[in-house]
């Protein structure tokens, strides 16, 4: 236990360092003590973007962690389960039809993405339980089927859209943080807050789900209720991120897996570690794309492309390493 506390403290220090230092890097380096216009860029553009990246990374990583515990499978993530696509479909519908409204400062797009995420997770869960058991093939095939279906629907929406709508959907679908600002951060934080808090309280239940649903029941877990709460938390976070940044893949798969290696699988420590690591990971990836565009002088690489480039090989590695059924 002491070891885990030390590891968590180190992660916290690293996360603070990333949050403080990342804004300095971009197309051009801006020092801490910059003034005037440079300071404006630092505080008004880069800092909110880094904070957005951190929040989005945390949310994707936490939802991936929750899915992996619930489905007892390291390959269960928002992306592979089709939850990102569901959220994207919800958001795309909103962008296409341009229905702009907000409740309590939360945009309609975010809510539509949340509903899309929730519906797709219920669909995947229904499909996998129907086939009996969360075996990797069933899970991945259901996820792929749902992903394809929703992606075609998004393409269909693009097809019936004008050029402007179509372009904004395409750009957003690549997963980008380039438009992040304080208002977007304000749209992310409530989703992170509610989702993260729910998962923090459910750490014992997630441990027991990971051990097995029958054991969870025999220990007194109200599995029906807890499942709904986990679905709710994860959909809130995936929907929240996708509405703002588009579907950024693989953060939700890599972060919890790496965290399990460094703090172990007990969700009491794994949840805060995944929060910190996921945030840092995406903030660093996004900083890298900014620096890259500065070096190449070209347009910015969407961060979703970078995470997918890293995540693809990682995914294959996990698949090859799979001994028997579960090795979370």
């Amino acid at each position: 236990m002491r070891k885990q506390v030390i590891t968590l403290s180190l992660l916290l220090i690293a996360a603070i360092a990333v949050l403080l230092l990342s804004p300095l890097f971009g197309m051009a380096f801006i020092p801490f003590h910059a003034t005037g216009q440079e300071r404006e860029i630092l505080m008004g553009i880069r800092l909110p973007r880094v904070l957005c990246a951190f929040a989005a990374g945390s949310m994707l990583a936490l939802s991936g962690m929750a899915f992996q515990a619930l489905f007892r499978n390291p390959l269960a993530t928002p992306f592979t389960l089709g939850v990102s696509s569901g959220a994207a479909l919800g958001a795309a519908l909103f962008i296409r039809f341009g229905i702009a409204f907000s409740i309590l400062g939360i945009s309609g797009t975010s809510m539509a993405a949340f509903i899309g995420a929730l519906l797709s997770i219920l669909l995947v869960y229904g499909l996998t339980t129907l086939k009996g058991g969360f075996s990797t093939p069933t899970l991945l095939l259901s996820g792929i089927a749902i992903s394809f279906f929703f992606s075609s629907l998004i393409l269909f929406i693009q097809y019936i859209s004008g050029l402007t709508h179509s372009f904004s959907i395409v750009h957003w679908m690549m997963g980008t943080l380039s438009t992040a600002d304080y208002s977007k951060l304000a749209n992310l934080l409530p989703f992170l807050g509610i989702g993260g808090l729910l998962l923090t309280f459910l750490h014992r239940e997630m441990n027991l789900f990971m051990v097995g649903e029958d054991i969870a029941i025999s220990r007194g877990v109200n599995t029906g209720l807890v499942k709904k709460l986990i679905f709710l938390a994860a959909s809130l976070m995936v929907g929240g991120v996708v509405a703002i940044c588009g579907p950024i893949g693989f953060v939700g798969m890599m972060s919890p897996h790496i965290c399990r290696l460094i703090v172990g699988a007990d969700h009491r420590f794994l949840t805060p570690a995944t929060f910190l690591f996921g945030g840092m990971f995406l903030a660093l990836c996004d900083t890298f794309t900014r620096v890259l565009s500065g070096l190449s002088g070209g347009a910015e690489l969407p961060v979703g492309v970078l995470t997918a480039l890293l995540g693809g090989p990682f995914f294959i590695l996990l698949l090859l390493n799979r001994k028997g059924g579960l090795d979370l």
């Binding site: 441990n207 054991i215 090795d327």
Partner: protein, 262 residues
């Protein structure tokens, strides 16, 4: 029975349209060790899963500790009874200590953390199961026998009056079989825990139980003492295969060996 802790009357359950259990009645006294035996597909596992709350769509009457089953919340139920499922090589990424601590779940709320007595219960369970040296090891790295001990230890950490086990010694080598048997026996004899275990091996069942219940085709085929169970004709009827009963001079019970189809 005056001090019955489990009282089941006419329990039936259908799973995906198939009647698995048909009118099971069972009365178990506090502190008793009852073994459930029977051929494959008889409904032994289904019965123990009904008792553990994993299958809840059964009909019939079920009193546990004198209270109707349905009146108890899942946490209340989990403070009365714990369950050890069939091993089947199942594993998880927790360490032994973390895994055994999951047994404390029904004693904790979402807003409380583990207290002194929770840690004590975990230590006690680890010691009883002989796992103190393994506490930091990952469950996945244990041998089948050690892993089974960890699963039993987690159930013991739950500190319940009733312990339900599904084939606790199947797939184990002789030493671990003996360890598991000794552990369950002492839990029952010394701590007064009621043990209900599904056993595949008749000699294991007869050697440790107060009473044997045989299930066949979803009904109770026989209830009786271990000595009464050690009967070739009776076992032939239950298992549809021939048995040989060999008297053993130094032990109270004869040895049962299966011998060819009847």
């Amino acid at each position: 029975m005056p001090n019955s802790i489990i009282n089941i009357k006419d329990l039936s359950i259908s799973l995906s349209g198939n009647g698995i259990l048909k009118g099971i009645s069972l009365d178990i006294a506090e502190g008793e060790y009852v073994s459930i035996i029977g051929p494959n597909g008889a409904g032994k596992t289904t019965l123990i899963k009904c008792m553990a709350g994993i299958y809840s769509e059964w009909i019939g009457s079920f009193l546990i500790n004198g209270q109707p089953y349905a009146k108890l919340s899942s946490r209340e139920l989990a403070r009365l009874q714990s369950y050890v499922p069939q091993a089947e090589g199942r594993t998880n990424p927790l360490t032994v200590e973390e895994f055994v601590a999951t047994g404390r779940y029904p004693h904790l709320s979402a807003f409380t953390s583990m207290k002194q007595d929770d840690y004590h219960a975990v230590d006690q369970a680890l010691q009883t199961a002989g796992l103190l040296d393994f506490r930091k090891r990952k469950i996945a790295t244990l041998s089948g026998g050690e892993r089974q001990m960890a699963f039993i230890a987690a159930a013991l950490a739950q500190e319940t009056k009733i312990l339900l086990l599904d084939e606790p010694s199947t797939f184990l080598d002789y030493r671990h079989q003996a360890n598991v048997a000794a552990l369950l026996k002492s839990a029952c004899r010394e701590n007064g825990i009621t043990v209900v275990a599904v056993h595949h091996d008749i000699n294991t069942a007869t050697s440790c139980s107060d009473r044997i219940v045989a299930i066949k085709n979803g009904t109770v085929a026989f209830k009786g003492s271990p000595l009464e169970t050690s009967d070739a004709e009776l076992l032939n009827k239950i298992y549809d295969t021939k048995f040989e009963i060999t008297p053993t001079p130094h032990r109270p019970l004869p040895l049962v060996t299966p011998g060819g189809a009847s």
